[in-house]
Every structure is written in structure tokens, then in C-alpha cells.
């Protein structure tokens, strides 16, 4: 048997399949006709025999389909470790190498050690894929959902920092990042603070909506523009719930000194437990006027929430409720426009509700710091609901510090930009403080708030 005959046989079979007769086929290969003829006849016979199969019953085929769909009705298992680290799969030959690399990366990163050069690598660097693989390794071995989310946010933010860095360097490179769609223009979108050019070839998947989270594949051009190749909407906009934005409702945000804030003042000092009636009926004897500098709005109004039902005699008096009170009595420095009118308090912080309990509160344990009501600016139970300030969440702690080359000034600038957009600068310094002081990321609610800028 020659290789030539294998090939000729295959060609002849293809000719027959395309409708050429056996004789016509043999005529094309006269030098092989004697050998080909019986083989081709056999092939024709085989094909005919195979065609004459018993058709399957429709009922059996439908039952097979139902079996499959029934089996699929249970939820799909979570992707395995290797699949999570290498989403596009691994060639078998590369598996040992990849496992070794992943193990080394795991030891280095989980152990808190960072390879010089890897952590600061940027798209286009040789070590950049190692950095990304190491991130995936770390993510894969982080089983706690909240911690995973926190890491993911940190790295999403890291991608944006990297892109800002490569733009500064004028590097032409393909990048990938995820961010909130902030603006949608005809030819340019703003996603995750980055301006992204839309071209006719840009593939957009999903419904573009401001506030949605989008994954972007793009090319950074030499002139610093980011040209999108693909934008995929991966999550709809997060509608903040009432509990998700307590910052705005509970903490008065300074609006600058140009708008005077009328503040109720009186001759008698405010009581420690003002009530609504007291506030409403007390007539100031002087005529205070709104001033530019004399108003001092209470900034913190913790509302004690009894966390347990008192059951025995108190060993200490129950926590005294701190009431909002002006710490200084503003003095009029210049007359207002309406001297003859007594300004009424317009924005007096009112206690939301008075702690109630039994007639004789009998806490079993003295209240200590641990059960003292804490200011909760972001709800602990739903950190994911605060999608917008995720940048604030992410940078705190060693994780990002270990994996970025950002200095504090750069970080501060980025945070300020983020915060000034969404939170009027209120929290710009909070993450920086966390950055400087904390060894590991913590939920924001565990940090003391900083004085707004």
C-alpha cells in the first residue's frame, strides 16, 4: 500500500460523494483503476448499508431530551480552581508548568510577599500576565464571598490605575477593565472615570445605561486615547436603597460658606434632651441672624439603638443619649436682610426616635464600647449595595498597597476625584487614613469617620 494509493482512494471517494459515477471515477485514475474498483464498490456498499438504518422513534428522542433537561435542572456547579484561574483552559502540556507558577504565586501573594517588578507591572510588561494570574489565584483561594468581592473591586480599580499609567507613558497596548458607565456620548463614553472612544467597529453588548457596570476591551493609543473594541454591560445600575446611603441623609454635607445656615439660638442653653415641643415653642429672646461663620451645625447625631432587652437591674445607668446641640452660640456679625423677622430653625436635627424600653430598663450587662451604638455610614450587611464608592472600599489595606506602585499622593488624587463626583468630597480622606493605618482592609463601618473636608 502506498501513500499515493491512500490519497487517490480518498480523492476518488470524494468524487463519488459529489455525484461522479464509479466508471467516471476510475477513468480519472487509470493507473490505479484495478486496485480502486473493488475498494470503491465496497465503500458504496458500506455507505448504502449504513444509510439503511432504522429510524429512531420520536418518543425515544423526546424522552432523551427530557432526560437531559431534567439532569440540567439542578444548578451548575461552581467552576473548578484551574478553570477559574485559566478561564480559557489549559493545554495538557502546560498544566504542570502552570500549576508550579500558580503555586509560587499563591505562596508569594497569600503570604503577603510581593515579587519586585510584578506588583508594579503594567499592561504590555512581560510580568503583567504573572500579576494577573496571581490575582486570579488569590481570588480562587478566597472563599469568603465578601472578601472576594472586596478583592475584585480593588483589582477593578487597579486596572484603571494601570491604564492611567500606560496613558502617561504613551504606551500603545491592549487593555481590559471594568467600571461604572458614567456618561454615554455619541463617540465617547466615560467608564470608570476613563474616557473611552467609540468607533464603528466597537462591539457593544447589552443595554448601555448610565450607572451600569461595563467590561471594556480597548486599545490605548499613542496619543493617550482609549479606543474601545468591545463593551459588555455586565450589571445593571445599582439603585441605592435608603439604607445604602446614610451618609447623605444623616451627615449634613457642608455646602460651603456662601450659604448661611440659620441656626436657632436662644438665651437659655439647650437642654440635653430637647423635645419637639420644646424646640417649637421656645422663642429666642435675641434676634439671631444667619452669619457666615458663626454657624456650627452638629455633625454627628448618633442614635442609640438598644441592642438587647434589659432583663435585670442596671449596674450602670443606661447610655445617655447624645442630643444634637450647637456647641457655640453664634453671634450676629452683620445684620441680615430681614431684621424684623425672627428666623426659624429650618434644619434643626431632630432625634429620630427616643430609645424606648421597659419602664425600668434593666440591662444585664453594663454597656461597653463594644455595644455602644456606632455610626454606620455604610451598612455592614450590604456593602455591595454601595456600588459607587467601591473605589473607596477597595484601596484600603495592604492588598492594594502590595500590588500597586501608586504612592499616597496619587491615591489621594484618585479618591478625591471619585469622591468629589459622587459624595461631595465627604470621604476623600477616609480611605487615605485607612490606607495609612490599617494592615488589612476593613469594612468602612468599622472605621471612625473623618471630618468632612
Amino acid at each position: 500500500m502506498s501513500r499515493e494509493l491512500d490519497r487517490v482512494l480518498d480523492e476518488a471517494l470524494s468524487l463519488i460523494e459529489s455525484g461522479v459515477s464509479l466508471e467516471g471515477c476510475l477513468a480519472r485514475y487509470p493507473e490505479h483503476a484495478a486496485e480502486l474498483a473493488p475498494l470503491l464498490r465496497t465503500a458504496i456498499a458500506g455507505a448504502r448499508a449504513l444509510e439503511q438504518e432504522e429510524a429512531p422513534s420520536a418518543a425515544a428522542m423526546a424522552a432523551g431530551r427530557q432526560r437531559l433537561l431534567r439532569a440540567a435542572s439542578r444548578p451548575a456547579p461552581a467552576p473548578r480552581l484551574v478553570r477559574r484561574i485559566f478561564p480559557s483552559g489549559l493545554r495538557p502540556a502546560l498544566r504542570p508548568l502552570a500549576i508550579c507558577l500558580a503555586a509560587v504565586a499563591l505562596v508569594l501573594l497569600v503570604g503577603g510577599v510581593v515579587v519586585p517588578g510584578v506588583a508594579g507591572s503594567l499592561p504590555g510588561d512581560v510580568l503583567y500576565p504573572v500579576k494577573r494570574a496571581a490575582e486570579r489565584v488569590r481570588l480562587s483561594v478566597t472563599w469568603d464571598a465578601a472578601a472576594r468581592q472586596q478583592l475584585q473591586r480593588a483589582w477593578d480599580q487597579e486596572r484603571i490605575h494601570e491604564i492611567q499609567a500606560v496613558i502617561t507613558m504613551g504606551r500603545v497596548v491592549a487593555v481590559e477593565f471594568k467600571g461604572i458607565v458614567e456618561e454615554i456620548g455619541a463617540s465617547e463614553w466615560v467608564i470608570g472615570t476613563l474616557h473611552v472612544r467609540i468607533t464603528p467597529t466597537t462591539r457593544i453588548e447589552g443595554q448601555p445605561v448610565v450607572g451600569a457596570i461595563a467590561r471594556v476591551k480597548a486599545d490605548v493609543q499613542a496619543d493617550g486615547h482609549i479606543e474601545a473594541r468591545e463593551i459588555v454591560m455586565v450589571a445593571p445600575p445599582v439603585v441605592p436603597e435608603s439604607t445604602a446611603t446614610p451618609i447623605l441623609t444623616r451627615l449634613p454635607i457642608p455646602t460651603g460658606s456662601t450659604i448661611p445656615t440659620p441656626t436657632p439660638t436662644g438665651t437659655s442653653p439647650p437642654t440635653s434632651m430637647p423635645s419637639q415641643t420644646a424646640t417649637g415653642t421656645h422663642t429666642p429672646t435675641s434676634t439671631p441672624t444667619p452669619t457666615r461663620t458663626g454657624t456650627h451645625t452638629p455633625t454627628v447625631t448618633p442614635t442609640p439603638i438598644p441592642t438587647r432587652t434589659p432583663t435585670s437591674k442596671p449596674t450602670l445607668p443606661p447610655p445617655t443619649r447624645i442630643s444634637p446641640s450647637p456647641t457655640t452660640s453664634p453671634q450676629p456679625t452683620e445684620p441680615g436682610d430681614d431684621d424684623d423677622e425672627t428666623p426659624q430653625p429650618t434644619d434643626m436635627p431632630q432625634p429620630t426616635d427616643t430609645p424606648t424600653g421597659t419602664d425600668e430598663p434593666e440591662p444585664t450587662d453594663p454597656p461597653d464600647d463594644a455595644v455602644q451604638p456606632q455610626l454606620t455610614y455604610l451598612p455592614e450587611s450590604t456593602p455591595e449595595a454601595t456600588a459607587e464608592p467601591c473605589g473607596l472600599f477597595a484601596p484600603g489595606g495592604r492588598g492594594l498597597a502590595a500590588t500597586t506602585s501608586l504612592n499616597l499622593r496619587q491615591l489621594d488624587a484618585i479618591l478625591t476625584r471619585l469622591c468629589s463626583r459622587s459624595w461631595t468630597g465627604t470621604y476623600a480622606r477616609v480611605p487615605l487614613a485607612c490606607w495609612q493605618s490599617d494592615a488589612s482592609p476593613k469594612p468602612w463601618s468599622t472605621h471612625r469617620p473623618m471630618v468632612p473636608r
Partner: protein, 176 residues
Amino acid sequence: MEDDTKLLDRARKHDAVALGEIYDRYAGRMYSYIYAHIGHRETAEDMAAEVFLSMLQALDRGSFARTSLSAWLYQIAHNLVVDHFRKHRPTLLPLDSEVGASDPPVDIVQERWNQDWVRRGLAQLSLDQRQVIALRFGQRMKAKEVAEVLGKSEDAVRKLQYRALSSLRRILERIK
């Protein structure tokens, strides 16, 4: 029509629509391929359904097709055929005694080419020879496609095809 890669991605997440689409697209071919080996309708129907359950299990384990979905399914089907023959030895009739004796050919030329006779011949082939015949002539695949299913080179498939046809021819000559 959605391509197989996207269907597989969705099937991995147990998307019923995607799984149904895959089944509808390939169940007939799987039945036909298995029937070519087994020659028994109910068994082939049952095994064709098994192909897709095996596919789902493989996806759940994190396996995925390194070839096309079509080639992957044929590979699964072939593994099931091999398993079947391990458990159930093919019960071939003794050719020399039963063929011809119990059913003497009236028109020898016509009879030789009847499907039972050829099927008996096919059953005498080795599994890989039968596989190449089933794919090449039963499923009407090109040598390149057969090569993908078998994980062999096209040259190797052509050789195997030549040997399979030569063997079948000899067997048919012998049992005529």
C-alpha cells in the same frame, strides 16, 4: 444560528435552551453513529441520550471540548460504544454456517449487496476501522473531520480508511 462555542458556554451554566439546542442539533447524528456500530434501535436510542448526559457531566467536571462540539460528541459516543462492547460481546452469527445456509441467495449479485450482508461484514472490522467507516460513510465526513474526531492526522485517517475498506472487502468476499 448560534455557534457551538457560545452554546457550550451557556450549556456549562445549565442553560436549558442551549442544552435543548445542542440536543436537537446532534441527537440524530449520535443515534445514527451509534446505530452503525450497534445495529439495535432501542439500544442506540438509549445510548444517544447517554451521550448528552455524559457531555453535561463532563461540563460539570470542568472538562470542555478541545475540538469542535461535534467532534467532542462523536468522541463521547464512541467511548460509549466501546464501553458497550466491553460489557456486551457482539453476538455475531457464525458467518460460514448461517449466512447462505439459512438464507440462500436467489440473485447472488443483488443479495451480496444487501444491507444485512454488509452489516455483518462491518461487524467483523476492528473498532477503529468500523469507526472510520461509520464516520466517513455513515456521517459523510471528510477525512479532515474524521481526523479531528479521532485525534489523528489526515494521513493516518486515509491509511485507516484504506485498510478498513480492504478488510471489509476481504470479509465480504469470505462470507459471500
